[in-house]
Amino acid sequence: MSKFLNLLSVILFLTSCQIEDENSPTPEDAYIKYYGQLTSYEAKEIQVIEEGGVPASLVVLAAKTTESDDQDFFLLRTNLDGIFRDSVSFGFNTFLDLDNDGFPDIDVNQDGDTTENDIVRGDDLPGSMAVLDDTLFVVGSTSISISAGDLSINDFTRLAIAKVPLAADWNTLTKQNIQVFTRASIPGNTDLELVGNDIVALNDGGLLLVGKKEKSAGGVVDSDSYIAKIPNSRFLRIFSFEKTFGVSGSGEDEEAVVVFEKPNGNFAVIGEGNTNSSLGENGGLNGRNIYYQELDPNGAVQVNSRYYGVDDPDNEEVYDEFVRSAISISGGVIVVGTSSTSQGQTFGFAISLDNNGGHLASETLPSVAFLSGESGLQTSFSGVARTNKNDFVIVGQYPGFAANNVMKSGEALFMRVDQSLAPVPGSESNFGLSGGNDAFVDAATLPDGGIVVVGNVDFGAGSKLISIAKLSADGRF
């Protein structure tokens, strides 16, 4: 019997091994991960965050629909392989300081006085994030609606800014740990919006914000581009300057979307407005157009004010351009967004500008890979990243996908373009559920050359999760 058992043991030992192929792709080479609870998330931005000077984590800024059906800021952190590390949601959850004096102004709980117990909640819409001194700063806006007694405020939108320590375990942070500072357009006026779209850390240790600000002049509400500087990141209520620029008057609305600090200390602001191009190239003779404004370090318009847009003089069709994202490269900036026509179609655009805002190249890009009839599918661009081969990947959405006998609703888009913004053949690909409104919203390049994209994947019935995928520069897993 012992001989039998010994032989059996040897046989079982021999039959317990596997042979691994060392050249086989690893889970770190490509991945797709879904994150979130059974609610709806809207990712806005992804950044590769360094720790100790080394790229170490991915941070996604998103909005999260909470149990009380309002929207909070949501931060998700993973390692570079997409493995979840921690997350936190937070939002405007404090008294309302209408006149920016630091004290409550509205008796929300109707107890006869205004104290710090007069808590209101806002719908928080993320704009962007920036890292400074081991702290992550988030800018966006919060939209507040209050109905208490005779008091009725609807969609009072204020700029919101918050800071989150990078060293902390975000899973242990609570809304109470993260204070969201808000700022109104005009103190005391709840009808005018102030929206934060982008934030950058400045070389002098300050923070720069851009967005849009509504003003009222003679009963006409006018929206202008907004820029403000916080000189010391420890004191988010103290601004060294807060300025607007744009054309005044009805229908002359501007909005700053992205800002960069230039090596000379000036600020390059990219946004959109209703001013026509005067350059004759990529004319933008109608509708909403893209602008490049260079401001001096005090936020004053100084040089290089340029407007660009899609023009279609033959068909009398209006093209409205909406800037979604931009990246700074050594030779200038690459701006992407969506051009919406008066016929209800949308096409993603990309424009390459030099360091003075001069036009280098531009493309309006319906789908190249998926033709719909005689023209390409409609597209919408929302993010751009530079590859390690110095060309670019653009991500976004096909608002409706109908190609190759496949019909889908919103489908995530991935496209690679060369330095002249022409599509790289074979690099366009689509991702998404057949019934969901899916989209990629932003992209970043990893140290190994992989492209990491963040998107919203719609599983239906109100479940929209954040997805991070790592792809090759050609959009392949």
Partner: protein
């Protein structure tokens, strides 16, 4: 009609009576021949005229099996002692055809032992068939997932995890055997996961059919052992080990769905892993196990077998280069295949039939 039935009954009675008389006469003829051998009257035994009944019974198959063995063995011994080895050898072949691996007894003469040793008495080949059910175990080589939870559930007895094989076996001596032959196997593994760890659960069934070509070596314990009554031990335990070349005939998803959100169910026919080249076309396995055989039949040379076996695939079952080629699975359902091997623990029942070609061993021809 009544007359017909009466006539039929009478005829049956006559036939049965005649057979009974014939069997008794054959037994008597055999006894007389054996008595003659004991008395040394070998010529009487070999005289087909004088001993006609003995030979008629043998040629006409009127002996029972035991009587036929006695008769044939008697002829072998008679020819041996008559110095007619050629006829003895011919009769020995007849004996070995009648009684496979005929066991000699201590009472048998040395000359018979000597002659017997010149002949191939073991089977030239054995054919075995097995039918079994298997339980699938997955070994992860590398885990790929979409961030939520994922676990493998061994499936057993769902009607598809069956396998069958036909082996040609050859006994090399002292209980050692080698065997080879085709095997057809269904293997299925089930995965239960959750896309986000809560609220978006999914189920995936991965089923494959394989044509396998196993080659094995087997060691039988107590193969030649006998009981105190000089009979073969009926139970023969064994262990075995081998390797197999596995050809994947088809692989597809079945019962694959996600609930939560807007539920999704993949159509079985549209989810072929083979069509998308998502599994390895072929693989190698090693296997081992143990079993027990029960000798069956009058000669105790055929077997029923009950076997426990573990098959271990050596290389990745999933084609890593096409892992991402089915968006329906990793986006709609939320499932990603790991690098894995499919291993199976199986229990089978089989029958082995021994085939003989009695003849002189090559060195004595």
């Amino acid at each position: 009609m009544k007359n017909f039935l009466s006539a039929l009954g009478l005829s049956l009675l006559i036939v049965l009576n005649a057979n009974a008389q014939s069997a008794a006469q054959c037994a008597r003829a055999l006894d007389e021949a054996e008595q003659a051998f004991e008395q040394g009257r070998l010529l009487y035994i070999l005289d087909k005229t004088a001993n006609r009944k003995f030979y008629d019974c043998l040629e006409n198959g009127n002996y029972s099996i035991d009587e036929e063995i006695r008769a044939r063995k008697l002829l072998v011994k008679t020819y041996l002692f008559s110095d007619n080895e050629e006829e003895a050898e011919r009769e020995l072949i007849g004996l070995l055809i009648t009684d496979k691996e005929h066991p000699l007894t201590p009472e048998d003469p040395a000359e018979l032992y000597f002659l017997y040793s010149k002949f191939q008495t073991e089977p030239i080949i054995r054919l075995s068939g097995k039918l079994g059910g298997n339980k699938t175990y997955i070994t992860q080589i590398q885990e790929f997932n979409t961030g939520g939870t994922k676990q493998y559930n061994p499936a057993f007895g769902n009607g598809l995890n069956l396998w069958a094989e036909i082996l040609a076996e050859r006994h090399l001596g002292k209980g050692f055997e080698i065997a080879a032959g085709p095997q057809f196997r269904f293997a299925r593994y089930d995965v239960e996961g959750n896309v986000n760890g809560e609220g978006l659960p999914y189920e995936v069934g991965n089923i494959s059919s394989m044509l396998r070509l196993p080659v094995l070596a087997r060691y039988n314990f107590w193969y030649d052992a006998k009981t105190d009554e000089n009979e073969r031990k009926k139970l023969v335990p064994y262990v075995f080990a081998g390797a197999s070349f596995d050809l994947v005939l088809n692989a597809r998803y079945e019962d694959t769905s996600r609930s939560g959100g807007t539920p999704v169910t993949l159509a079985d026919e549209s989810s072929s892993l083979s069509d998308l080249d998502q599994v390895a076309k072929h693989n190698w396995s090693i296997f081992g196990g143990a079993g027990i055989r029960l000798r069956v039949g009058r000669a105790q040379v055929n077997f029923l077998a009950l076997e426990l076996r573990y098959d271990n695939t050596l290389f990745n079952y999933i084609n890593p280069d096409t892992r991402w080629d089915n968006q329906e699975v990793f986006i709609e359902v939320g499932h990603l295949e790991d690098d894995l091997t499919i291993n199976t623990l199986s229990l089978s029942f089989g029958y082995t039939h021994s085939l003989y070609l009695p003849r002189k061993r090559k060195q004595f021809r």
